[in-house]
């Protein structure tokens, strides 16, 4: 019963990992698969593995994935360019063939009756596992501990970074800034602040340049990568709508009081309106 509820959820989530664009969404779908697996373990008389699955996989491994994703940057999107031609199609075809062979092969096998773990789990699942683990598999267990120590050490060695150059002081940074200005003409001062408007005053609204276009450098790069930046001219359109309604109520229909909303021609008027 539990199996038939969880199996479609797991397959759907696993397929979702293949198709979502962002790595964070893939990690969340993987969490769904792993928690469902934990419940399947609980149903299949494996309470110890149920706990270990939740603690180790969803607790530790997925958190590690999310931490690394934060370090690498959430905006590191997947490129859709194929470097090997036809590789994606070949991958899908090979996967389908492999899956078909596997499913057909498994369906040929007759499994016999399920013995069940009631005898083996007598006196509790955890003591029974401990009995086997520390008698028959004790060398494997010791090797595992050696493996874990090696892994921890390896991670420390790989993630450690020696400082090769001295830390840049404030004077160095100022000199670098002047050099950038001399060589590339980069603006010396701080970046422009985001737009301050009558109805929207937030870091996701870009400031407007004198010609009415949005200043890209005034919003954070991360927000731009996430695609959550508001468009300031669109906000100005709202204001123009209100003005048009007011003008319609007056009945005067004075074209001078109602600047053009579409095209570049109207843009400077928006700017003036917004900066106030």
């Amino acid at each position: 019963m539990t199996f038939w509820i969880l199996a479609p959820i797991m397959v759907a989530a696993a397929l979702g990992i293949l198709f979502v664009r962002k790595a964070v969404h893939a990690a969340l779908l993987l969490a769904v698969v792993m928690i469902s697996l934990a419940f399947l373990y609980a149903v299949m008389d494996a309470p110890f593995l149920f706990a270990v699955q939740i603690i180790v996989y969803t607790g530790a491994i997925l958190m590690l994935f999310l931490f690394v994703m934060m370090l690498i940057g959430v905006d590191a999107a997947d490129s859709t360019v194929e470097t090997i031609r036809g590789q994606r199609v070949m991958g899908v075809v090979l996967g389908l063939v492999f899956g078909t062979v596997l499913v057909i092969g498994i369906s040929q096998v007759t499994l016999g009756t399920v013995v069940g773990l009631d005898d083996a789990n007598e006196g509790g699942n955890v003591p029974a596992i401990a009995n086997i683990l520390f008698s028959r598999y004790v060398f494997a267990f010791e090797a595992t501990s050696a493996l874990l120590i090696t892994a921890a050490l390896g991670a420390m060695v790989l993630a450690h970074r020696e400082r090769l150059t001295p830390k840049a002081t404030q004077a160095d940074m100022a000199a670098q800034r002047m050099r950038d200005y001399a060589e590339h003409g980069k603006h010396l001062g701080p970046l422009p602040s985001p737009g301050v408007y009558a109805r929207h005053n937030a870091v996701d609204t870009p400031a407007l340049l004198p010609d009415g276009t949005a200043a890209e450098s005034s919003v954070s790069r991360v927000l731009a990568a996430r695609g959550t930046v508001r468009s300031a001219p669109a906000l100005a359109d709202d204001i123009d709508d209100v003005r048009r309604q007011l003008a319609g109520l007056d009945g005067s229909g004075d074209p001078a009081a109602m600047p053009e909303t579409s095209g570049k021609a109207g843009a400077p008027a928006h700017t003036e309106e917004d900066v106030k």
């Binding site: 696993a14 293949l18 996989y57 991958g91 499913v103 499994l111 090696t150 892994a151």
Partner: protein
């Protein structure tokens, strides 16, 4: 059967995705599918060896994830990219 389907999906994921982290997640998916088969067969045959094996697979997977993510981070630091296509230095 479910285990086979999940394993296949993981396999396709490894073959098609470009982001190293997502490829890694698909490897995890394949390991989990194997674990599911182990636990199911432990119940089928009525002894706990399958569960022990699944436990060892989990330990190895944890160690593997730690090292793999550290390698991905190191590559990202030197290349500023998490795509598997850019890590082709060993080719030449």
């Amino acid at each position: 059967m479910l285990s086979a389907i999940l394993f296949t999906i993981g396999c396709v994921g490894v073959l098609t995705r470009r982001n190293a982290i997502v490829v890694f997640m698909c490897v995890e998916l394949m390991l989990n599918a194997c674990n599911l088969a182990f636990v199911a067969f432990a119940r089928q045959h009525g002894n706990l060896d399958g569960q022990i094996t699944a436990f060892f697979v989990m330990v190895v997977a944890a160690a593997e994830v730690v090292i793999g993510l550290a390698i991905i981070m190191t590559i990202f630091r030197t290349r500023r990219s998490a795509s598997v296509d850019d890590a082709s230095l060993l080719k030449y």
